[in-house]
């Protein structure tokens, strides 16, 4: 090869006796491949030289290259120098590149002169052409492209069909899911999140679900495609092209039941069937939206219950709360208990647990309190909101995550008491217990008032409940009037019902605080009624121009009342011939004593009026 490359004339280029035959024409004439000329051969060989090769690869090559270009003969020398200092290699490389650049410049200059050197375009050697392989290759490539196109058109047609048919396509469904739920794509699967984390929940359990394409649906759609008909359309319309895979612990339906029970109720055992639950037993056919909602509800109930259970264990009330299995028991008032339970019925697990049975029994026995359940949900949501809606700090560099009052606490030197107020957040359980207590107290008070209003005929008792109330406070107005004389005498009372106490406010501003015991309210009301009788009499006596001789609100004479004090009024008739003494006691009722004129010794008549 070297010999060939050499420019010496000695090298015989006519070594080949004959030139290659390129073609033999039909008349037998041979067309030879024209031998390449010297300069062509030179350029061809020069083309093969890789100038970018490092000079370290061999001095020989370098020298050949040097020969070929007839330039740069000393550049390789430095490569053999010992590397003496760290920048040596850089130094050499830089020098080499400088040399090469100079050489290039020189070459260009020389070439420009056109006296010593000419630049000729290099004729590329035509690549070996193998028609057969080329044809095969092209065919294969075309085939591939056609397949892709066909596949694509198939899919397009399919999706187009789906789009036009009544069943929405997977993508459309997915878009709908995306509108209401949090989705993200992880590798090849589409995952969604049911949890309330973005809404402020700190519940650990994960609520990941997976969105899957319904394969059956595709087949169904295919069938529908071939045989379009109303039946097929209906079939396709019912089925969604998308289904969601929900983790097993979130399947089924669940709810929190809340009930208030009296201790005395015996927990009778009875066999009860599982109540029907909102999810269709054929879970596969449920619409994804309903399925997701149900699963999210399960997650929510679980969070709610675990929160309540945690609080129940942490709180230290005088009568400890009990957490057994899926049920929390808290004592509201002596003998009255609040049950909060988590009911979770799983589609897959249809066997009833004994606990669940028990819950069902209790649920049957005492009506499930929907209002309290609702407030529980509300309370948890409020907690969520509070978790994420902390005010932003000002200035902006200040620390995030403290309430405004907390930030002021240090610089304003809050006292211990006000700091304690800051953290005085009531737990969910405490709040629901308060609400339940209020419910019990309100029902009890209502019963007391109603029964008194029914028993007591003569002074009429009218109760006006305030339309506005909240979960732990209700108020009412109570009017006591005497029939026929409603405008003349009226006793008004305001009654406020709190969680564990009742406040009765008299018209003159006196306040009586009562405990949760219902009979206390009864006593107060009986006392009020008896006083009302006397004051009504007084008003009437003025109207009838009777003369009041004396009144006494708290009578010290006569037989002792079982409860409270009797009051009395003594009045004389307009003519002064008769004197009436009327005594009204909360228990004993009204007694009227009539006296004739002094001297007229007619016997005292006494009448007893029953209330």
């Amino acid at each position: 090869m070297n010999a060939k490359m050499a420019t010496s004339v000695d090298v015989s280029l006519e070594a080949l006796a004959e030139n290659q035959i390129q073609e033999i024409s039909l008349d037998g004439h041979e067309i030879y491949v024209q031998p390449i000329s010297m300069s062509e051969s030179l350029t061809k060989l020069a083309q093969r030289i890789d100038f970018t090769k490092m000079e370290e690869e061999g001095k020989e090559l370098k020298s050949v290259a040097a020969n070929e270009t007839e330039e740069g003969d000393d550049e390789a020398k430095s490569a053999f120098k010992q590397e003496t200092w760290p920048w040596d290699s850089v130094h050499t490389k830089l020098r080499h590149s400088l040399t090469e650049a100079s050489v290039l410049l020189d070459v260009l200059n020389i070439a420009k002169e056109k006296r010593y050197m000419l630049l000729d375009p290099i004729q590329q050697e035509p690549p070996e052409s193998r028609m057969f392989t080329q044809v095969l290759g092209k065919k294969k490539a075309l085939n591939n492209a056609a397949q892709i196109l066909q596949h694509g058109s198939e899919r397009l047609r399919k999706s187009d069909n789906l789009y036009h048919s009544s069943a929405p396509a997977f993508q459309m469904e997915l878009l709908n899911v995306r509108r209401n739920w949090r989705l993200k794509k992880v590798a090849n699967s589409i995952l969604g999140d049911l949890s309330y984390k973005s809404a402020g929940s700190r519940f650990r359990q994960n609520g990941t679900f997976e969105v899957l394409e319904n394969k059956e649906m595709e087949e169904g759609a295919g069938g529908h495609d071939t045989t379009p008909g109303s039946a097929g359309q209906q079939h396709a319309g019912r089925r969604s092209s998308l289904h969601v895979a929900i983790p097993s612990h979130l399947q089924g339906a669940s709810y929190i039941y809340v009930s208030i029970q009296k201790d005395t109720d015996s927990l009778a055992s009875a066999n009860l069937t599982i109540p029907s639950h909102p999810t269709d037993p054929l879970a596969g056919e449920t619409h994804w939206q309903k399925k997701l909602e149900a699963a999210q509800n399960v997650l929510f109930c679980k969070e709610l219950f675990s929160q309540l259970a945690r609080e129940a264990v942490q709180l230290k009330p005088p009568i400890p709360h009990m957490v057994i299995g899926n049920q929390i028991t808290a004592t509201l008032f002596p003998g009255i208990q609040l049950f909060i339970g988590l009911c979770h019925s799983n589609d897959q697990d249809r066997s009833t647990e004994p606990q669940q049975q028990q819950q069902q029994q209790q649920r049957q026995k005492s009506e499930h309190n929907h209002i309290l359940e609702h407030s529980l949900h509300q309370l948890l949501r409020e907690m969520h909101t509070a978790n994420i809606s902390l005010p932003m700090p000002h200035p902006s560099t200040a620390m995030l995550g403290a309430s405004k009052r907390r930030r002021l606490a240090g610089p304003h030197a809050f006292s211990r008491a006000s700091l304690l107020q800051l953290i005085e957040g009531k737990s969910l359980l405490e709040q629901i217990i308060e609400q339940a207590q209020h419910t019990v107290l309100r029902i009890r008070s209502t019963n007391v008032l109603d029964s008194i209003a029914m028993q007591c005929r003569d002074p009429q008792i009218v109760i006006h409940w305030n339309a506005l109330s909240d979960a732990t406070h209700a108020a009412m107005k109570l009017n006591i009037t005497s029939q026929g004389y409603e405008t003349i005498c009226r006793t008004s009372l305001a009654i406020h019902i709190h969680t564990t106490s009742v406040r009765v406010i008299y018209r003159d501003g006196r306040i009586v605080k009562l405990s949760h015991e219902p009979h206390e309210l009864t006593n107060v009301l009986l006392g009020v009624v008896s006083v009302h009788n006397i004051s009504a009499l007084q008003s009437l006596s003025k109207l009838m121009s009777w003369q009041i001789l004396s009144t006494c609100m708290n009578l010290g004479v006569g037989e002792v009342e079982a409860l409270g004090n009797a009051s009395a009024v003594v009045m004389a008739s307009p003519s002064g011939e008769r004197v009436l003494a009327i005594k009204s006691g909360p228990i004993s009722g009204v007694r009227v004593y009539v006296q004739g004129l002094p001297g007229n010794t007619s016997s005292d008549a006494s009448t007893l009026e029953t209330r």
Partner: protein, 209 residues
């Protein structure tokens, strides 16, 4: 909403600190006050190191258990900076310019009493292990203008401190018509601490205001 005075109570003859505290506690309990935990007011001192030409400055960091989220930084000029309790750590970061003075921590620690609207705190002051004196703090909660309630307080305080209580403490007297702030409490304590630091427990007890 409170007004408060701090007095030093001189040690009775022949009694040590512990006994003296017990005498006071007994008196207060006889008045019908109830114990409501303990309290502690302590003070750390940081000293400047800003070169030989600059005068040495002191910063006092005062903590009061009544204001658990707060650190008071008091300068010698009387300026009181009220800050989050993280200021303690902040001051440590100034190491090099301001250094914590070793063995200079002084604290008043003791029993807290409440009687109706009054809060009484009997604290024994100590620097490290050495006892320095007794400070009595009386707080009247409903009112924060000293002028309008000091007479009442004096009457109450004479009941167990003795007739020595006549005038309000200097600091309170200086702004008797202005609302009382927690800063004033810190200042009062600091004044007492500074004077107690100079005395020895064995020395003649001086009455400070």
């Amino acid at each position: 909403m409170h007004n408060l005075s701090v007095y030093q109570w001189p040690l009775p003859e022949g009694k040590n600190g512990q006994q003296a505290v017990e005498i006071l506690q007994k008196r207060v309990e006889q008045l019908g006050a109830t114990k409501t935990g303990t309290f502690c007011v302590d003070c750390e001192t940081y000293q400047s190191s800003l070169g030989p030409n600059a005068p040495t400055k002191n910063v006092f960091l005062v903590h009061n258990t009544e204001h658990p989220a707060t650190t008071f930084a008091v300068l010698e000029s009387g300026l009181v900076l009220v800050a989050d309790s993280l200021l303690d750590i902040f001051m440590l970061k100034l190491n090099g310019a301001y250094n914590l003075k070793k063995n200079a921590n002084i604290e008043s620690k003791g029993q807290r009493y409440e009687q109706m609207d009054f809060v009484i705190k009997i604290g024994s002051v100590s620097i490290g292990p050495s006892f320095k004196g007794i400070l009595v703090e009386v707080e009247y909660q409903p009112c924060d203008i000293p002028a309008s309630c000091f007479d009442l307080m004096r009457e109450f305080m004479q009941g167990f401190i003795g007739p020595s209580v006549q005038l309000p403490p200097q600091l309170v007297a200086a702004k008797i018509a202005e609302p009382y702030t927690p800063k004033d409490t810190v200042q009062q304590y600091l004044d007492h601490f500074n004077s107690l630091r100079r005395t020895t427990a064995a020395g003649p007890p001086t009455r400070m205001q």
